[in-house]
Symmetry: C2
Subunit: 502 residues, 2 copies
């Protein structure tokens, strides 16, 4: 008897394949169970019978395409310019392994937000540029990822979420009942020269409370971040929050009768202290019409690290001190005192903050700020709306991952699938599909093997996708309405009726 390969020329492909494999020329009567148990010892055994002769076998090498009886050279491509296979500079693809980590992180963001009773919102990633153009020399404006669209409108990929949120709150107007507690996880963009390995996009988790003038709101926000850190294994010895209030600076400025309209700009300049030389900061402050004396007083107050000292400087009457005291008192009740510390040098780089500001930092001092936020009671009026007291924070997806790596806390998020279903015979592909359907209707996840492959290949794939069990559909068993099952962790194997598959 001639071998099938000689009788059917299309099978010859396999003989010349770069992974040479023996064809199953004569399958002896064999149960699925014996196949299952022998498969690892006889790895070249193919998971199909000779009935595959009735139809040309698909080849392993995908590039050769199918070898149908009607010769079918590939359709000419419309064009064939070689494209850059990397994502645009500063951006990321998320192949499955990265996407699993991203989902793990985002699910933690979302679950914490929900535990705090926040509702999810989102906004367009492309906004009108005007939404982000503020005076005050913010870094965020210089790095705006902006364009002119085909209708000659100035648009920008959002650098942050808060302006969109403010826009939506104004739009909703009196139709929403305050307070709003909203969270979002969205991609933000900046156009930065690609130094320091910083990317042009990142995802940011935001939580905002709109309509609460009291520091109870800031205390609640910091509590939620602490809850998040604890969930992912970060402790108070890894991370802390530096907390201050912009009202500290405001009180100094007012004492020296500096006009209020300079406030935002001065804060943005002061925020540069850790990034540019102090003399440059002083120069910028003086060019903002601040006298030498005010500049020195501002710089002095920034070095204060305790509320006792702050009280010595400011006296007992101001809001800055009252707010901060209340916040530290609430932190005690929440149980996160050890996470926070007063530090007057925290100002944050956004012009719109008006009160409490805070920033999460790693205690080893190796990384940039992990997150930051504060109160922005007057942002809405800058957009022409009526002011509503509000506060919120932004928490990026980049620094926290660096931190988790540093601490050895990055989780291994493996792929997971409950079943891998495979037919032993090309004619049984439909039967395997039926078995997969039964399991899927029960909510089970199934990777269905879509080609005839050697059992060795199937076992390798099962291991790679972390399948819990292998279900084999073979001819003899199928005629009895049964399939072979192998539990991959234990090696246990048995036959079972398809309708009894759980």
């Amino acid at each position: 008897m001639a071998s099938p390969a000689l009788r059917n020329p299309s099978l010859l492909i396999h003989l010349h394949h770069h992974h040479p494999r023996r064809l199953a020329t004569a399958i002896l009567p064999q149960t699925i169970l014996s196949l299952l148990s022998s498969s690892l010892r006889t790895p070249t055994f193919r998971a199909h019978s000779t009935s595959a002769q009735t139809r040309p076998l698909p080849t392993d090498n995908a590039r050769t395409g199918r070898s149908g009886s009607l010769s079918s050279p590939p359709v000419q491509p419309d064009f064939s310019e070689k494209i850059d296979v990397n994502p645009p500079k500063g951006t990321r693809d998320f192949p499955p392994e990265d996407m699993r980590l991203r989902n793990w992180l985002f699910n933690n963001f979302k679950e914490v937000s929900q535990v705090y009773g926040f509702e999810e919102v989102d906004f367009p990633v492309l906004e009108s540029e005007a939404l982000f153009i503020r005076k005050g020399g913010e870094e965020i404006r210089d790095q705006l990822y902006c364009f002119e669209d085909r209708g000659n409108r100035r648009v920008a990929l959002r650098p942050e979420l808060t302006p969109s949120l403010a826009r939506l709150v104004i739009q909703k107007g009196k139709s929403v009942a305050l307070p709003l507690k909203w969270f979002a996880v969205g991609q933000c963009w900046r156009y930065e020269r690609m130094t320091r390995g910083r990317r042009r996009e990142h995802y940011q988790w935001n939580m905002d409370i709109i309509g609460i003038p009291d520091v109870t709101a800031e205390a609640e926000l910091i509590s939620s971040i602490v809850t998040f850190f604890k969930r992912i294994g970060i402790t108070a010895s890894d991370v802390g929050f530096k907390v201050s209030s912009r009202k500290v600076l405001q009180e100094v400025l007012r004492r020296y009768s500096v006009p209020d309209h300079l406030f935002g700009r001065v804060c943005v300049i002061i925020d540069k202290l850790e990034k540019i030389p102090i003399d440059d900061v002083k120069k910028e402050l003086r060019s903002a019409e601040l006298s030498e004396e005010v500049v020195e007083e501002l710089l002095q107050i920034l070095s204060v690290k305790s509320l006792v000292k702050l009280e010595e400087k400011l006296g007992t009457v101001g809001e800055a001190l009252a707010d901060l005291k209340q916040l530290f008192s609430l932190a005690e009740k929440y149980g996160y005192s050890e996470w926070i510390q007063f530090d007057a040098s925290v100002v944050r780089g956004l012009a719109y903050y008006t009160g409490i500001v805070f920033e999460g930092f790693d205690r080893e001092g190796k990384l940039r700020a992990i997150c930051g936020g504060g109160r922005y009671d007057h942002l809405l009026s800058t957009f022409g709306g009526d002011d509503i007291p509000a506060c919120g924070f932004g928490f990026g997806d980049a620094v926290v991952v660096e931190l988790l790596k540093e601490k050895g806390l990055l989780p291994e998020v493996s792929p997971q699938v409950e079943n891998i279903v495979c037919s032993l015979d090309q004619d049984l592909q439909g039967a395997a599909a039926a078995v997969a359907s039964v399991l899927r209707q029960k909510g089970q996840s199934v990777d269905l093997v879509l080609e005839n492959k050697p059992l060795k290949w199937v076992f390798k794939r099962a291991a790679r996708i972390n399948a819990q069990r292998l279900i084999l559909v073979g001819n003899a068993e199928w005629q009895k309405g049964m399939v072979g099952v192998k539990i991959l962790s234990s090696g246990e194997q048995y036959e079972v009726k398809v309708d009894e598959l759980e």
Copy 2:
């Protein structure tokens, strides 16, 4: 004894408030339970005691801000241009109610994909324009949302996900084991004149199988969409799939010796049949160097609606027929035969499809295509990579929602929170925070009331956010380590120790 309002002027604010309310001038010894049961009958009773006098009460009207002892006029805004409060033309905000629906839809996309053993991936929403520029007159190219960035690079907001996927597959090269089964849910953009109420962005669910030359892959993809429809309540009498193969047209073109490189372009022209007059289609086909005879033959074959007739036209040898027969046979095994029908007029508008194409449609014929997909075995070589057989589909978030509305199947996705926690006394705000923390540590969701509010307000908020129970922290109970609980569905109420809260 003078009323507190007269002793403390700041309380007068409430008397002049636009929601006039009676102040609790003399609180009699009262348990939380009596408060809870009376609250609905005496709605103006405030949820705080007279101890609130020690600190000015926050007002209900958020705009008045806090009334601290140090007068604090608002910081002058940096600018005050009135911005457009609407999202950019053709884009959407997602306030909570819309986000809940979006999450419901996306979770169904994701869960179905996982049940089919697919892994999630993502790509940048901003890609190099070159990735999307194909010859062939596709609508998708004319509507590219493209820009020049600040580095003078041509970039585009992706109109679809498949080119990015192809780019990533090429980039990964031999480091990934085939087949890949990937899914993504991502936002796609087009710049279209804003007629017909179509938007400029939508989200698209994609599932792709890379590395399987056989129709088993297409059968698996259609099965997953059917599973999705069933999950959301759509039946085979609501929706069907029109299925064809581009190889039908290819075989006709080859019979007339039309060069292969015209194939993609011809398909794109034919796809316009339902959008522009037939004479314009004919004109375009003739301008693509097709003879009158070929054009007539093409248009004839497009009217074929059964495989029997197709076999009469094409004979039995071609791949087109074999593929389609195999697909219909597999559909029977999967159990979705009633969902699919052969219809040669389905071509799809993307140039890169090479084999089976399909599209989901509503049987009432009111809506545009709900989803569509097909085989694109040669897309990778158009990007300079080696070809790998592949197929996939795109499923937008717009038409399916219209369909659900039509059918009355749009779910009511309400906000949900397990607890609303409220202190009865401003001094107990920290205690309420502590109670909230206890519950949150147990994984329960808590909306913590962050200001002193009348109980009527608290009950209204509880109803709006669908809270399951109200937890009240009052002075007398708190001193015993207890809180008051009211189950909001049944009205049942009791006191419980904080550490026994479940």
